[in-house]
Subunit: 408 residues, 4 copies
């Protein structure tokens, strides 16, 4: 790979990406464009602009964008249509944000004539894979620079030294090592590393940042309703809201009731196991709500097919293959199933739990006439069940007859 | 089907199966053998013996058995090795008990020279299918009698009349219609029908019988550990226990903390949707515990394969295909994966929730050396990630290059 | 089910459906509408009209239609996009025709005010299921009459007697029993029953009706090219053709070279095994051609996903679930994959075999630059493979290290 | 990676691996152990011993072994139980041989105290992955040396120069570049590269080395029978044979009749497409024979499950994950299904084709009594089909009713 001339950097404004910024300038002597996205991580973006300017980035090379609506509408919601859970538990909060960032990096590279993009993910994690697969899928000729895999700033001490050498301001609390590493966006906050590295040790309380401890949550349950149209949440308690507004509101409900905490050991795509603490307050409510509305609006054939492909769909997102033909094929399958996933779900929130307690829809496939214990006025002929069972049993009988025959 | 001469009836001792018993005698003039199993449903079995005798069953034709250990060891535990959930939520508590009952019915038929078995399941539900598929798979020539599909006792009034005509004692509270229908065993209690038939209406509190309301559960969390060997729970808080003893103990923990309640609309095999309230206190804890120990002891390839076949495995059990080649094939696959699923999981129980908070195992695949944010002493070479990403990206680059080429 | 008043009958004009026609009139006293479709079965339809008239059907109640283009365009081609094979071998020639017939039956019922449809499939086969599931999926209130399951004309003798009683003309060769039963359409001819019922006996030569014996096929191979656009065949040897025209032409190539014969024992949806002789001359060529063009135009992620869902897709079609949400979801997935399946395949036809010998496409993903054994000018960096292997191996190493550790 | 001290080399005795041998000695100054396996590639092994001795390998460091029986019994046959085809066509002839070679390399390393193994696969192909994943899975600490990824002998000229410098004898026909590259073993011969690199060009006839051209095959078909026990072939025409003997015999039948040729473009694990010519004469017959016996002995539930996991199983083998938990789990599933796959298949071989024409087994599940068009003496009750269809249709009716309701 020849040296990059102009690089678009995913820039948070924090110490680490500021060091990367400077390192790109000094190592490659290249022009740097910064891209700072508001994905709902809960930090102000203005300081990022000032810091970038201070580090010598030209104003026209500083991109700061609020992408929260796009994030929820085009990434989070499509994924939730699929009820995606990685390894049965993880709601993919980090995974789903990376493709959007890479997309903007590549687009900004095209706009600014940059030949490379750069990210601050390490060489041990999944995020490097997600950033880079997405970038290459969108521009096969883009260069991707991953400083953590290249440089020799292999300890905190060396990083701080580099920062001091290059007049990068260091917040007091960043001098020492953080007790764990955090990623946050509108969907979730993840924490991992350091104090969390022994999965046999309980995580300390201070790791949780986004939700109250269930024990400190209100003693009284709260009932809310979530409205859906074609698989996407569109309202809370009857009030229509935009995608990002809904997720923000659900996050607040979840935070308050201590919902969405997960202590998890997962398998990284790069081959090792890692332990993370995830907090996905709104997403956890959303998943249950979506499952609830599907219960009455989705046919069993459709639902079972969806369930069977879900692990693969979730794995693709986890592994960074959002922009792949197979993810898009599965999305087409999933989206096709959502045409009637419209209606209202009632949920009870209480001390870490979210319960579906009722669901209602004009699109419901639930037929009280068929299922009732009462007289059903001919809706269902119980005698049909005899034939149904006989033919389902036929092959089992033939198997049993064979076994008996061979035993003789 | 020619008329049965001798029938083994799955007999609970309750009003409904007593009516069936008498109906078999009067309708077919056949000898009846009763089989009453203690599956942990929480009812005494002695009254069943007395009632059967009173209804004219010969002592040698009355079978009453405690099958709790067999139930948990040979049915519940194998199923939990697979983390089986039907339609993402239901722990299959009813489904998994039916094959065992059918097995004993067929075995007792062979012992007593009976040519038929009978059950008390209706023509609208899944249980008829489960009873009958299991019976036919074990004896292809057995006759199965399902009185609910045959007789004309189509209303409560007619049933009571029949009982009175035949001197079947009727408990006072059984004269009227029950407000809902219940099935119970060591794994779960399910309730459905009547007051639960409108899924848009919240279930009344009195439906829940097996767990305290989370709101009434202790205000202080409880920490327990569950030990596993080769995928099966073997101890609680370090104390070794038999399978049924463990599930009984977990049920008590779950009951106390309001764990395992589920309000669910599911798709029955016979084609309609139904709404049920399930309480699976111990099973819900067990599932989380099993997932927790798998997190550190199961390889990702093994885990992802298990996850991908799970919906099919659960569907087979739900639909009544326990005794089918494909269920046994999936079981072989699952069991193969459990050889190292050994270790201890720590769980926090609190007001309806069960959280995995720590896991430990000599069989752990978690490598702190590899995952650490600290110096890893060469355990992992970050440069490998570059090649890993490049080759995973290659096809995506070729796709992107094609798209670009065709646009020109 | 109340008695039907007006019935649309799938009418071939042959003896069996003529008997059904008369039986409907006499048994139910209902008005009969006949629907006779040209699906490419190779029979003239005019005699069907005359015969229907002779049996008292009003001219406005006689529907005769050439649906060959619709059949290939909307049913055969979509299915071939999925490379569907039932149980690894069968090209689903009968299965795919049934939904189209049912669709027209239901549509004609709506046009003519009929409340029922009727078909001539027996109670042992798959076709009854396919006809009826399709009909119910399109009109949940339609009545379906399956005379073979209802009447008592259980022997050839009784059928002939009924025909004679009702002045139904009987061709000489129809008096005796046919040595086997045949179904044909533009995609295939199937033969089953009677002389074919012992799968340990070789099928007699005279069963094959649609293809020459490979031994009698030309001694010289023939080379053809098939052009594709978005997954569908559009030309042969450079000549553009309509869907039905292409399949007709491929059938002629296949017939001449003895291609597409299959002697097969399959599992019917209704539970038993049956043995059939299938001849699918054009379809067999088409499948190979489609696979050939996919080889260079379909990405591996897309292709492997398609391969993994294919058995389920084929089973749905075989079982009669063409009009089901899950078939449509899978179709959406499949169709999404075909956007670039465009190009030309060269095939060699010879004595029963069809070989792909070359493929070419502007949409090709094949990169000689990457794969070449020669210098590749940096297209591919072999060192990347080392990292790729290391990370793929990481979990295997951790497994091996655990095994070693535990052995000590 | 520290430098290896003693290396076990997969040594064919040919020019390329002789150069590798010498390069290991000169580059690393390490002791070399050679392993030469007779996998049925059809070459004498004695010259390999002489050549190794001539290149300075100590006699005790020369391992030459006939592993044909192990190869077929423990690798080929288990794979054929799964009917494995990669991307619908490829019988995995190269893929399945690599794990065995790696296993012996690692075992010999343990016996001889070697710390490394080496292979002659290039950095662009799948074989490097297969060799190395297998080696690491069996010994997590083994070093693997892949000279083609390391050295600078990047052209034929440089290789020949190196050989001449080191007195490695060069056969005349090896001086120039081979027109394509070949791999062979008892299961297949593959050819790729050079003249085959343009998939739009037909492969020249001289590429095929293992089978006669179908056009030159006998004009008369040949009928053979293959006997199976529990999924494995055990006899031909009634004569019992060992695994390798059977495959050898089937190869001869296949060769003679021009069976098993495949011109294929496949997706390599490392990300690019490649075109290969495969000849798998005996394996192609074996696959058809195995499918044939499964047709009558395998239940539909078992068969459909097998079909659904087959693509994944084949992909694992192709990608080099033979020694992985998930391959072993799938093998457990597959092997469980084969308990009754016992019987005899009759095949017709003719000019490139193999047809199953009859199958017979005491374990057959085929029931003429059930399937017959004749009177079936009550084996099957056609009325059962009505109930079977009604309940399968129920959800489709509910869907159709919803659609109608919403349209109003």
């Amino acid at each position: 790979m020849s040296a990059p001339k102009k690089v678009v950097l995913a820039y948070s404004g924090g110490l680490d990406t500021s060091i990367i910024l400077k390192w790109l300038q000094t190592e490659y002597g290249c022009e740097v464009v910064t891209f700072t996205a508001d994905l709902g991580q809960g930090e102000e973006l203005d300081p990022a602009r000032k810091k970038a300017e201070m580090l010598g980035i030209k104003p026209e090379n500083i991109y700061i964008e609020d992408v929260r609506e796009e994030f929820v509408r085009d990434f989070v919601f499509p994924m939730f249509r699929g009820n995606a859970l990685y390894e049965g538990e993880y709601l993919l909060g980090t995974s789903i944000a990376r493709p959007l960032i890479s997309k903007r990096l590549v687009e900004i590279a095209a706009e600014t004539g940059a030949d490379a993009v750069a990210h601050g993910a390490t060489g041990k994690g999944n995020d490097q894979v997600r950033f880079e697969l997405a970038a290459y899928a969108l521009n096969p000729d883009i260069k991707v620079i991953a400083p953590w895999r290249e440089w020799d700033l292999s300890s905190r001490t060396k990083l701080i030294e580099f920062a001091e050498q290059h007049q990068i301001p260091i917040a007091k609390d960043k001098r020492g090592e953080a007790p764990f590493s955090v990623d946050a966006n509108l969907l979730h906050t993840s924490s991992e590393g350091k104090v969390l590295e022994d999965p046999a040790e309980q995580a300390p309380d201070y790791v949780y940042q986004r939700t109250v401890n269930p024990e400190d949550a209100p003693d009284t349950p709260e009932i809310i309703t979530v409205g859906f149209e074609k698989g996407d949440a569109v309202s809370i308690n009857g009030e229509a809201m935009s995608p990002a507004t809904i997720l923000t509101a659900l996050n607040e409900y979840g935070r308050k009731h201590g919902i969405g905490r997960l202590d998890f050991v997962e398998n990284r795509f790069v081959g090792m196991k890692s332990r993370g603490i995830y907090e996905t307050p709104g997403g956890t409510i959303l998943l249950q709500a979506h499952r609830g509305i599907e219960q009455i609006t989705l046919d069993s054939g459709a639902g079972h097919l969806k369930d069977s492909i879900m692990p693969r769909y979730a794995e693709l997102i986890y592994n960074g293959f959002w922009y792949s033909p197979e993810r898009e094929m599965l999305q087409a399958l999933i989206d096709k199933s959502q045409e009637h996933v419209t209606g209202t779900v009632t949920l009870k929130l209480y001390k870490g739990s979210v319960f579906v307690v009722a669901r209602d829809s004009e699109h419901s496939l639930y037929s009280e006439a068929h299922v009732t214990f009462e007289e059903d006025a001919g809706a269902y002929n119980q005698e049909d069940a005899a034939g149904f069972i006989q033919l389902n049993a036929l092959r089992l009988k033939l198997l049993a007859a064979r076994d008996r025959r061979l035993k003789k």
